[in-house]
Point group: C2
Chain length 451, copies 2
């Protein structure tokens, strides 16, 4: 070859980043495109949402991660379309030609056809989602402290988490911890310990991917901390400040969506066959059938192992797919023998339930309680990127463990201009998302929003 | 007295917080109202804007700061009006009666009658301002990396800081440091070292409050780091992606306003006499003339010392006023002798110029260079609230000093829904503030904004 191959990777999540790293020494030119400038460590986003960690503790500029990789450039742009015949990616930052294309654009929240629920029950995929959920939870307590009616106060200090997978269990446990431990000394009218946290799961049990005893342990532990666990009951409607759980209406100060995801728009771009969750069906080598130069990986892909079982939508699976595809492209570029079909190696399942409690299921090892929580903590610190983040997160955890504090309890302006949430049962007491920030005429505090 | 006095403090900045603390053991009921839930350490906001520190490093929930003070409650609400005859504060969270009122609502950016400049040149007063400026600076480099025309690339990597006071000097120095030290390894097309940073001051010299030799030192140091310092030249217009400096049009990737402030709306609420900057003229004991139960303090007040000199708009002055008023109210409540008129004690002036350089002017001590920078660093760590923040900030600074890195280089969605900034000379390459976040149809990366 005269010119090195141009490899374009779309998406800087676990899958895309791992593919780029695996191509670091290959004789190719790598272009990684993401619409955000940072890689986000999603497994710890719930800790940003509950004020335990800072955004910068769990997100890193993609450029920084790949800066030493001389054959790689990183671009921040939105992809609009893929022209597979011309081998072109159309983006807001221009068109990019490729010889090999890796699509790793992840998944998004899915509301089972009820997209109108989205503004009332944000999910947890991006840094902005986490800071918005943090804002809603903290604002609910602020409003409750101001509320004059007991019913209003009760509604505002009720939190509904929809979905009993790891994210839902972690969110419910963390909200209960914050309400019971971090907030009580700060309030005078309300008692944050009285806050209700509901965890609603449509299926028969929490943590369906774990063995049954661990599900039961998680439920018991959450209930002992005051979380009301409701299983076998779907959420049938979500509106402004309330959810219908089964037949029951629950007025809530904040609702968090942890129930479903669907793949990104990659199937549309590629005109590809998709499964029910919108994921692109891929061949055993993770290529798009009929397009050997296009790979689809991570949560965007519907892949099966040689024995027919599906590859799960987990971070380790995404990383393994990324590494596999990076090595496959490197082998192609070097004219070396190609690896066999992709084989996912399951390393285990981990979920934390809150302070001092977690569940861990490895191949031959099952842990619960404090030991599991320590294992979980060490594992997650290990998987962070860079010594700097590891020190910062470990220090935060040790500090919070000792003091019960939550340092990042900041309410900042919302990250989107979507519909505002009003408190249930009354007019807005506080500036909300849709209201423009007040000008000097009504602003009691320092500064004001320019714009 | 049968009932303890009700003291209402509006504003949780330096002045209001200090007043509340000074009332901690007084026989009164304190209500502190702020429209934000956190106290912000404004002197370090420029480090959030330049990705050196996290928001939570320089902002703390007001509730947390005052949680051990049992006679004090904190409420998050916006003040709409003050009824001085009825002694009522009207807020979005209800009406609050007071026996003694402390107004400490701070100052805001002032654009000298050109409020239309505000969306194009944000100032630096709140956490949201800092993350927005950080976003604009980082996005400018991202756009430059994508730009095809050299002129566009040059415009995008030009930064204009308006105002040569401490904030302007600190911002210009920090932007130059980021461009020269943190970013170069991350880019392939542009060389961030070529970025232009302009610091524009209408007056004859930088740091007008400092002795002339220190101004000259600051200028030399900035120029040695590549900052173009322009004095004696006003900015006559600011528009989308450009500023008119004297007669010259400068196309810029980001413009930062550090030139002027005016007081909050307190004078309107109180129907009070004000000075040119909108500040309320107060008596020697910081009360509103004719209203001995109303105090106005901090940047909202126009106060004079017994010798006639004005009290400057600095953090130490605000803190001293707060402490004075808190002690005065406590003395009144206890029926003890009242203190004499407020007397400001000037402790000195400090400004940092960037890595390893600062200027310090104390009563008998003048420092420049590395020694001044060390002094500045230690002083600022000392003034932070809580051991947790001190450790976090000190660790960040040592780490960044050693590695030249900037850990908080996150571009997150803008904090307001105001007018968007487009890059100069072309259509938007990246999602900007006014565009709704893209849905699944066009989004290449993980997640999407719900709402």
């Amino acid at each position: 070859m005269a010119e090195p191959w141009r490899v374009v990777i779309i998406g800087g999540g676990f899958a895309g980043l791992e593919a780029a790293k695996a191509l670091g020494r290959a004789p190719v030119e790598v272009t990684l495109i993401d619409r955000q400038n940072h890689h986000c460590f999603q497994p710890l986003l719930y800790q940003v949402a509950t004020a335990a960690l800072n955004p910068a503790d769990v997100a890193w500029p993609i450029r920084g991660i790949l800066s030493r990789q001389k054959n790689t450039r990183v671009l921040m742009a939105q992809v609009n379309a893929i022209d597979a015949d011309q081998r072109l990616v159309h983006t807001t930052g221009g068109d990019f030609a490729y010889d090999q294309l890796v699509v790793a654009t992840g998944a998004t929240h899915a509301y089972f056809g009820h997209e109108e629920w989205a503004p009332h029950a944000p999910g947890l995929k991006r840094i902005e989602d986490a800071t918005e959920i943090r804002r809603r939870i903290l604002i609910a307590f602020e409003r409750a402290e101001l509320a004059s009616e007991p019913a209003e106060r009760e509604a505002l200090t009720t939190f509904v988490v929809v979905g009993g997978g790891p994210t839902g269990v972690e969110m419910a446990g963390a909200i209960a911890d914050v309400a019971r431990e971090a907030l009580p000394p700060d309030f005078r009218t309300i008692d944050p310990r009285q806050a209700r946290v509901l965890l609603v799961e449509a299926g028969p049990r929490l943590l369906a991917a774990f063995p049954e005893p661990l599900s039961a342990y998680a439920r018991r532990t959450l209930e002992r901390r005051g979380v009301e666990v409701i299983t076998g009951t779907p959420v049938t409607a979500i509106g402004r400040g309330h959810a219908i759980v089964g037949e029951r209406r629950i007025d809530a100060g904040a609702i968090v969506w942890a129930a479903g995801v669907s793949a990104s728009a990659a199937a549309d771009w590629l005109g590809a066959e998709r499964d029910r969750a919108g994921r692109v069906k891929v061949a055993p080598d993770l290529t798009l059938p009929g397009r050997p130069e296009i790979f689809v990986i991570g949560d965007t892909a519907s892949a099966a192992m040689p024995d027919g079982r599906p590859v799960p939508g987990l971070a380790p699976a995404a990383k393994q797919m990324g590494r596999y595809v990076g090595e496959l492209i490197a082998a192609r570029a070097r004219g070396r023998p190609l690896p066999g079909p992709f084989q996912y190696r399951h390393q285990g399942d981990l979920a934390t339930i809150g302070r001092r409690a977690a569940v861990v299921k490895l191949d031959r090892l099952t842990l619960t309680g404090f030991t599991a929580w320590l294992f979980w903590s060490v594992a997650h610190v290990y998987f962070l990127i860079g010594l700097r983040s590891r020190i910062a997160v470990a220090f935060s955890w040790v500090w919070e463990y000792a003091t019960f504090g939550r340092r990042a309890r900041l309410i900042t302006e919302p990250a989107n201009a979507g519909p505002a949430e009003a408190p249930p049962g009354g007019p807005s007491l506080l500036p909300s998302a849709a209201q423009p920030a007040a000008g000097a005429g009504v602003a009691p505090s320092k500064g004001r929003v320019w714009g």
